[in-house]
Amino acid sequence: MAETAISVRNLYKIFGDDDRAMVEKVKAGMSKQELLAEHGHVLGLKDINIDMPAAGIQVVMGLSGSGKSTLIRHLNRLIEPSAGEIVVGSDNVLDMSAKQLREFRRHRISMVFQRFGLLPHKTVIDNVSYGLAVMGKTKDEQRTGALRWIERVGLSGYEENYPAQLSGGMQQRVGLARALATDADILLMDEAFSALDPLIRTDMQGILLDLQKELHKTIVFITHDLDEALRLGDRIAILRDGEIVQQGTGQEIVLKPADDYISSFVREVNRGRVIKVETVMDPVSDASPAQGIEVPEGTILEEAARQMSEADVVNAQVIRDGRPVGQITMRQVMAAIATPVLKDAMAA
């Protein structure tokens, strides 16, 4: 994939006073339960390695208590690791002095929180300009910057309201605008939409994807919801009990779950929205005549099926760089959407 923006290397986090010594024990094979029972330390993260793509959305998914918040807070060093490295661009975050770290947080990385984390005594516009105020920008610069993002997230007219006067969805737009206003390249989002109603959540996902199309930020998005992970993530890492159990694209995870734990997750997924046409197509041979409509590579099955039935055909050609590379039939598409496991198709 694209170049790496954030690289997490051999990261360990153990909660307790003597965490560094405990890292050795965990490396030697001590389990989370033993560590807690024998030494009273909590294993938060164990040997995490992730390369997060620049200008892409890296999702970290896991159940509650799996260590997602702990992991994302290492990226801007709100939590100090017990061992390991975090490299952003060419800088090791752990080598930064307190002052360098403040500058790093002001200009290069920003964050959106699950319960919004807004300042209840400040108005919407003052909340959105908070990051700019911290940087020491003038009142005018703060105002211009804040107004631009308030408009971009659709909150014009609410500038002088207080957070408590807004609905949850609107409050999180404030949170998003505040994070975007600093122009940082990296955006951390810790279960940013989890506190919202399902419809509003889908709305916010749409807003985020729209913004991402034009902004190309490096986004690290935490969620416990697989559908959200699949919709947003260019890459997904699955965390369980502080360990990464699988990493890959959404399609890879749905088609080749690494273990029973992940299988149980992906069973309920709407495959038509995850699997892409090239996964199920038959490669073209010169013999096969062109049939049906053309769909570009990367189209999801649901969309291909919709286009075929709209055109009233049962065949389609998959196009890459203007040239046909494969053929699909409506039957293949339907079978792929319905079949629970498609290992063979992937292997092909």
Binding site: N76, L78, L101, R102, E103, F104, R105, R106, H107, S110, M111, F113, Q114, R115, F116, G117, L118, L119, P120, H121, Y130, G131, A133, V134, M135, N161, Y162, A164, Q165, R178, T182, L188
Partner: protein, 295 residues
């Protein structure tokens, strides 16, 4: 078998020697440094006297109008404002205007002093568990030690007068603001503080933009308690020469003037209620942004 029925105590001679030695040391300390300490507090005395004179020399109707206006702007409540005006008029009619002005001035100055000293101490406590653990017992002693007891060293050190009186009031009234500043800052929403950190706020920015504003309601409750305790202490402080409503009360006790005691007592109660209601209404107004628009 004496020690079974009587608590075995130090011999009376030793006890007397002990207290005499300590007293002597303290007395020589106060002889050596008393004047310096008094000089140190001199500006405070000047300010207090200036303020008292201001309240007493300004025509009564201007002072009354000013107080009523302040109460109105703090509380925005017609009920509290009218109540204040009536209370002040009654105080004047019953001949307690001058004493009330003295009491008001010492309350205002001692409250300001308590805030200026107490707020930073509370902030320090909130930043470190060690500091908190060290200061809490001192606050406990300050609050439970009978107030007459610390009149003694202060009088030995500074004699009788306004400054020692002010100090006594401040020492007695300061603990609530320290405690509640500490508590308020510690109770600030963790996620909001984390957000401030995530945007690279300096400690000062966190304190002024997040911690103090969010703990303001709690701090206001502390200031309110401080004012109430200062009012309670003014009567005791009149024992060592603080002018104001406390002195007529003291006089009434020694001479059995029931009506005079009652009237002056009621005046203190009236001031307490005015301060209390006005500061609480102000505190509630600060909180208004927390209310949802619909419901």
């Amino acid at each position: 078998m004496d020690w079974l029925t009587e608590f075995p105590q130090l011999p009376g001679r030793d006890l007397r020697l002990l207290s005499r030695t300590i007293d002597q040391y303290y007395r020589s300390f106060s002889r050596a440094y008393g004047d310096d300490i008094e000089a140190f507090f001199r500006p405070l005395l000047d300010f207090l006297l200036w303020f008292e004179t201001l309240l007493q020399q300004t025509p009564w109707f201007i002072v009354l109008a000013a107080i009523v206006a302040i109460v109105w702007f703090a509380s925005r409540s017609l009920k509290i404002t009218i109540g204040t005006a009536i209370a002040l008029i009654l105080i004047g009619v019953f001949g307690m205007w001058e004493d009330t002005m003295s009491t008001l001035s010492i309350i205002v100055v001692s409250t300001l002093l308590s805030i200026v000293i107490g707020l930073p101490i509370g902030i320090l406590m909130s930043r470190s568990d060690k500091v908190q653990a060290a200061i809490n017992p001192i606050l406990d002693v300050m609050q439970t030690m009978p107030s007459f007891v610390y009149l003694i060293p202060i009088v030995m050190l500074l004699g009788i007068g306004l400054i020692p009186g002010l100090l006594v009031v401040v020492i007695y009234a300061m603990p609530p603001i320290i405690r509640l500043t500490n508590l308020g800052i510690r109770l600030v929403d963790k996620e909001v503080l984390e957000a401030a950190n995530a945007f690279g706020s300096s400690n000062w920015q966190k304190l002024t933009q997040v911690q103090l504003p969010l703990s303001l309601p709690t701090i206001m409750a502390g200031i309110n308690q401080t004012i109430m305790m200062a009012l309670a202490m003014v009567v005791v402080a009149s024992l060592i020469g603080v002018r104001g409503l406390g002195q007529p009360v003291l006089q009434a006790i020694t001479n059995q003037y029931f009506t005079q005691g009652l009237l002056n007592g009621l005046a203190i109660v009236a001031i307490a209620i005015v301060f209390d209601r006005a500061s609480q209404a102000y505190g509630r107004r600060l909180q208004r942004h927390r209310e949802a628009a619909h419901g």
